[in-house]
């Protein structure tokens, strides 16, 4: 068993790399009931990880740029950092403890799926990232960097896809997505 212990550079050097003024600071959330989106088994803060700590999306969802699937990071990826990082506020610490417990018990958390396409649609993530760049996740997934809890912001319905394809003058051949 090999653990990836290296930390992302941004997480380690973030404070030096970014001037404090432009840094986004994720709020400490006490009342989670008002947040949009489904409640996940672990209150994973995308806004903390990618907004505040500036970890690029591709660090965890590494296959989005090379595969049709973005993949859900393995628990091992979480533990890569959280073996060392225990979190600041107590609420954060509690959630990180859940991660560590899961790792110890070898029981992966069952995330609730938010973005789902019907089985007859193919969405090659890598083609979109290739064309739009690694920052383009927000186009469909919304500003996850500021979401304490991720919710679906786009309809992900066909008309929504097609409008973007038409606007960008790329193919709307049916068999690109449906086969």
């Amino acid at each position: 068993m090999v653990l990836i212990l290296a930390l992302p550079p941004a997480a380690l050097n973030g404070q030096q790399a970014q001037p404090a003024s432009s840094r986004y600071t994720a709020p400490v959330i006490t009342d989670t009931s008002s947040l949009k989106g489904p409640r996940q088994p672990i209150f994973f803060r995308h806004d903390v990880h990618t907004g505040q700590d500036q970890i690029p999306c591709m660090y965890c969802h590494y296959s989005a740029a090379i595969s049709s699937e973005p993949g859900i990071p393995a628990l091992q990826t979480c533990m890569g950092c959280h073996q060392l990082i225990g979190g600041g506020p107590p609420s954060h610490q509690a959630e990180i403890k859940k991660v560590r417990d899961a790792w110890r018990e070898r029981k992966a958390p069952e995330w609730i799926r938010i973005h789902a396409l019907p089985g007859f649609v193919r969405f090659p993530h890598m083609r979109h990232i290739k064309a739009l760049g690694t920052q383009a996740c927000v186009t469909c997934h919304g500003d996850v960097q500021k979401m304490a809890q991720v919710s679906q912001v786009s309809t992900l319905r066909m008309g929504w896809c097609v409008r973007c394809h038409v606007k960008n003058n790329v193919t709307r051949d049916c068999s690109v997505c449906h086969y």
Binding site: I66, S67, G71, I72, H125, H178
Partner: protein
């Protein structure tokens, strides 16, 4: 794959990536409900979600030992493809190999170890308890006779078993129902060696088969088919070198169908014919004579076989014998092969010996017949050994028997179960509850070959490796581990295997091991061993013995191995059951082949049951009336008639092995030709046959060119253009077509696009059916079962149409096999009639079918002249539904890149569009264009004959573009102006009269 997860967990992990999870979602193309995403604990290093990984391993479906590459997605094996590194199959695979996946994910696999309780029923037992119990039994049985029965096992596992048996004082027996004993005995008679040589079909200039079905069941079918099609292919570009193929046998098999000439000699006289040919060659000095002692031995042997003397007995005329001999010898590389099941009568060994003599006389032993590169299947135990074992068991000399990887209770029905019942304790390592396992006391289910370590030595020089591709699907254990544990040795079978491999390569082993795993084994060319004629060769006497049976048993019945189900091991795989037999086109059932003259005599129609009764047993088979069998014989395939084995195999038709005796014959083999009485029972069955009705018109569907004509073709010739648009209308149609296309280039369609196309060489296609199964596997095509198939509901996107080539009397010489699939027409008739644009033309020239848009008017299929569209009459993906085609865990082999179709939608071939899009996505990532050869369709990939080529018809440098311009090329039903993207290259047939010499 080091972390172990239980099966339930494993199934859940599959949900990891979600999209494409249509594969496991029951509602098919309906929207899926919110699901849970369960991440890996540790991401497997070599797997990227949504991207396939390929692992090399070895196919264990038969003894040929083809290399395979397994396509793995999210921990599931979804497709098998041939391993191009393997010198045996060169990247190709047969239908049986493709279907290995259905063995892995078979719903009828034994999920736990089981033991027979006091009431005689099986109950689950835990592994430790089972092994403990077994250890006791082994201790008790020591000295009272222990036998370990395996299938063909030239492998480390076989060696381990042999070692252990030695340790406990037992014996190891390997048994193959079709063990090629006649070949071994014939080789001993002619050359004094019992090994099985390798045959070099690729370099043969003339092929003469005496019943050897080397394309379907004989020794190493994929390898031989690949070689055969290279020898037998016609290529206008190179100096025309199509090798003629003559088939001598009482019935046409898949191999026989591909012959240029079929000689239906009287059964049993094939050896006499071979010697007669040798006689002509020797006396007319058609080949260089062998060295002196052989010359005299040859003359002595051949003296009595002058064509004139034997012609009447053989049943063909003298002139033909002389012609064949001349053709064979003058070709400068004639290869004669013998020993197929169709000729495995009591004198089969003599026939093989005679054919060996013919090869020897023609001087190809050592060049085309390579002793030295011996085939492993030749070192299994003979049927005589099994007969001895049965006698021992009956006599109570065996106290404990282990059965692994073989099912003798099915192939030797009656005798074997009876003998087995006399054994005190029976242990089975079967993966399925087959007839033998059902008669055992303890079942310790083995891993499937795709789940475990192993190796095999299919032929001298080659050791193929086998590695676990997926997590075990059920609570099974590798038998190797069990044996090691029982023999008190430490470690697992993996350790044992590696230790053995370490002895081959002591330095830098890890690298060597990784390289071997990547390549799928180590491949070396074994040196050819020279052989000489045996001293007593003159004792060869292949005349058929007079039958000595009861007077009413007046019919010769040939029991031949089913080319798809083989001895019956494929019977529980729905892909194989649903794949029609290449010759009879019958699926899901057995049959008996009856010549129309015989049928007329008995008043039989196709489907009428015939009761065959030999001295050993009686079985009923529905008749298939065909001219592809001699009038004086009946032929029955093996494969069906299981009384256990699983839901797809059980109680299906009749077991042809019942007709055979359990006694070994004088060369130690089993006689597969019996005398039997045949009685019409009066029952009738609508057998599932996909064969077309009597409306065969041959109008622009299949084209056949005589060899001489094909040779005369020059690049730029278009012999088949006569059937395209008539001259007078040509200009108008062309002008109109141009105008239409101009107007059609709008929107999406503007700009440069490829036009995907296929070229299919009918001169190479043998009709083996590998492509059909590959298509089922790649495209999640549902199998519908016998009842629905009887109603014409089969879903085969790609079907093989078999058209007999007949003489004036209607007797076939052979057949032309035409793979028929969606032609992706440029002017597709199916498209404009769809009211909702579900069938439409893509910019890259595909005739796409948008499943989720389809409402199911079925107009497209009505308007398709090729009839290659298939409708989902029921929901074949519905969980536990009445029509479910993928019961758990079969659903795990569904391709996540292909939508599983819902009921009520039309589906069809789209040239594996998922592979096209995958290659385009990859090319885009790498900032390049798709290259010719990047995209390989499933059918092309597996085709053992390399008959199918895919590519871009607009790419001037593509292989398919070149083939589309071949003078032999034609379009099916070109007169309809559909402009298909598939170019067929006409079949070429070497005529009966010699073209030279």
């Amino acid at each position: 794959m080091s972390n172990s997860v239980d099966r339930r967990r494993f199934l859940k992990v599959l949900g990891v990536t979600g999209a494409g999870a249509a594969a496991v979602s029951a509602c098919g193309i309906g929207p899926e409900p919110t699901e849970r995403l369960i991440p890996y604990l540790i991401q497997p290093e070599d797997q990227i979600p949504g991207t396939a990984t390929y692992y090399a391993t070895t196919c264990r479906e038969c003894a040929a030992g083809c290399g395979v590459r397994v396509r793995v997605r999210e921990g599931r094996a979804v497709k098998l493809e041939g391993n191009p590194d393997s010198p045996i199959n060169r990247g190709r695979l047969c239908a049986r190999g493709q279907a290995a996946l259905q063995g892995l994910y078979n719903p009828d696999r034994i999920a736990h170890p089981m033991v027979r309780n006091a009431r005689g029923a099986f109950e689950d037992i835990d592994w430790d308890g089972a092994i403990q119990r077994l250890a006791t039994k082994v201790r008790e049985a020591q000295g009272k006779g222990i036998v370990f029965l395996t299938g063909a096992e030239q492998s480390s596992f076989g060696d381990l078993v042999a070692e252990w048996m030695k340790q406990v004082g037992g014996r190891h027996l390997s048994y193959e129902p079709f063990g090629f004993e006649a070949l071994r005995a014939g080789n001993r008679m002619a050359f004094g060696t019992v090994t099985l040589p390798t045959y070099d079909f690729a370099n043969a200039k003339y092929i003469l088969s005496f019943g050897a079905d080397f394309l379907d069941t004989w020794l190493s079918p994929v390898e031989f088919q690949n070689g055969f099609s290279r020898a037998h292919a016609f290529d206008a570009g190179r100096p025309a070198s199509m090798s003629k193929f003559v088939y001598v046998a009482p019935r046409l098999s898949l191999t026989g169908m591909n012959a240029d000439e079929w000689i239906a000699a009287r059964p049993g006289t094939e050896g006499m014919l071979a010697l007669a040919l040798a006689q002509v060659i020797v006396t007319q000095h058609l080949a260089r004579l062998p060295a002196p002692p052989d010359t005299s031995r040859l003359s002595a042997l051949l003296a009595g076989y002058a064509p004139r003397a034997v012609a009447a007995t053989i049943g063909i005329d003298e002139a033909m014998i002389v012609r064949l001999a001349r053709e064979f010898a003058s070709s400068g590389g004639g290869l004669a092969v013998a020993g197929g099941m169709a000729t495995q009568g009591p004198n089969a060994a003599q026939i093989v010996a005679a054919v060996n003599v013919l090869n020897y006389a023609a001087g190809v032993v050592g060049t085309l017949v390579k002793f030295g590169a011996d085939l492993a299947v030749g070192s299994t135990n003979t049927f005589a050994d099994l007969a001895t074992l049965m006698a021992d068991m009956t006599a109570g000399k065996v106290a404990l028997v282990f059965v692994h990887g073989t099912n003798p209770a099915h192939s030797v029905p009656g005798a074997f179960p009876q003998a087995l019942s006399k054994v005190a304790y029976k242990v089975s390592f079967a993966s399925y509850m087959d007839e033998t396992a059902a008669a055992c006391d303890l079942i310790l289910p083995d891993h499937h070959p795709l789940e475990q370590w192993g190796d095999s030595r299919p032929r001298a020089g080659i050791t193929a490796l086998q590695q676990p591709i997926v997590q075990p699907v059920f609570d099974t254990r590798p038998t190797g581990d069990v044996v090691l544990k029982l023999s008190g040795k430490p470690g697992t079978f993996q350790d044992y295997l590696q230790a053995r491999w370490r002895t081959r390569h002591t330095t830098n082993f890890d690298q060597y091991w990784m390289e071997s795993l990547e390549k799928g084994g180590i491949y070396a060319e074994a040196p050819t061993r020279p052989v000489r004629l045996a001293v007593d060769v003159s004792r060869i006497s292949p005349a058929p013995p007079a039958p000595a049976t009861a007077a009413d048993q007046n019919q010769d019945v040939i029991v031949f191995p089913h080319s798809i189900l083989h001895d019956g091991r494929g019977a529980n795989k729905p892909w194989l059951q649903e794949l029609p037999d290449p010759v009879s086109k019958i699926a899901w059932h057995s049959w008996v082949e009856v010549h129309p003259d015989t049928a007329a005599k008995w008043g039989l129609a196709t489907g009428d049951f015939l009761l065959l009764k030999s001295s050993f047993g009686a079985q009923k088979f529905p008749a298939w009336i065909t001219r592809s069998v001699r009038a004086d014989v009946l032929a029955v395939p093996t494969g069906q008639g299981h009384t256990a084995y699983g839901r797809y195999a059980k109680d299906r038709s009749a077991n042809a092995f019942e007709l055979l005796g359990a006694q070994a014959n004088d060369y130690g083999g089993r006689t597969f030709t019996v005398r039997a009485s045949a009685t019409k029972t009066g029952d009738h069955r609508k057998i599932v046959s996909t064969e077309g009705g009597p409306r065969e018109l041959g109008l622009g569907t299949t084209e056949v060119l005589p060899l001489a004509r094909a040779k005369a073709l020059h690049p730029g010739d278009h012999p088949f253009h006569y059937e395209e648009t008539p001259e007078y209308a040509k200009d108008a149609v062309e002008w109109w077509g141009e105008r239409q296309h101009e107007k059609a280039s709008l929107g999406n369609y503007r700009g440069e696009h490829p036009r995907w196309g296929l070229a299919i060489d009918l001169a190479k296609c043998t009709g083996c059916g590998a492509c059909v199964t590959a298509c089922y596997a790649e495209n999640n095509i549902a199998t519908v079962g016998e009842e629905l198939m009887q109603r014409g509901r089969e879903m085969a996107w790609l079907r093989l149409e078999r058209y007999w080539r007949t003489d004036e009397g209607g007797s076939p010489h052979g057949a032309v096999n035409q793979p028929m699939l969606c032609q992706q027409c440029g002017n597709a008739p199916c498209e404009p009639v769809c009211p909702v644009y579900a069938a439409y033309h893509t910019p890259d020239g595909l005739n796409a079918q948008v499943y989720n848009r389809c409402v199911g008017t079925r107009y497209c299929s009505n308007n398709c002249p090729y009839k290659v569209r298939f409708f989902n009459w029921h929901n074949y993906a519905e969980r536990d539904g009445q029509y479910e085609a993928f019961p758990d865990p079969l659903s795990m082999l569904l391709n996540p890149d292909v939508t599983v179709r819902e009921k009520g939608v039309m589906e069809k071939c789209t040239f594996c569009v998922q592979r096209i899009r995958g290659a385009q996505n990859q090319a885009r990532l790498e900032n390049r264009n798709v290259r010719d050869g990047d995209i390989v369709t499933a059918c092309q990939q597996t085709c053992p004959s390399d008959a199918i080529v895919f590519g871009d018809l607009n790419g001037r440098n593509s292989r398919v573009f070149e083939l589309a311009g071949n003078p032999r090329g034609y379009h099916v039903l070109a007169g309809l102006n559909t402009k298909p993207a598939i170019t067929y290259l006409a079949r070429v047939v070497a005529e009966a009269s010699p073209s030279r010499g």
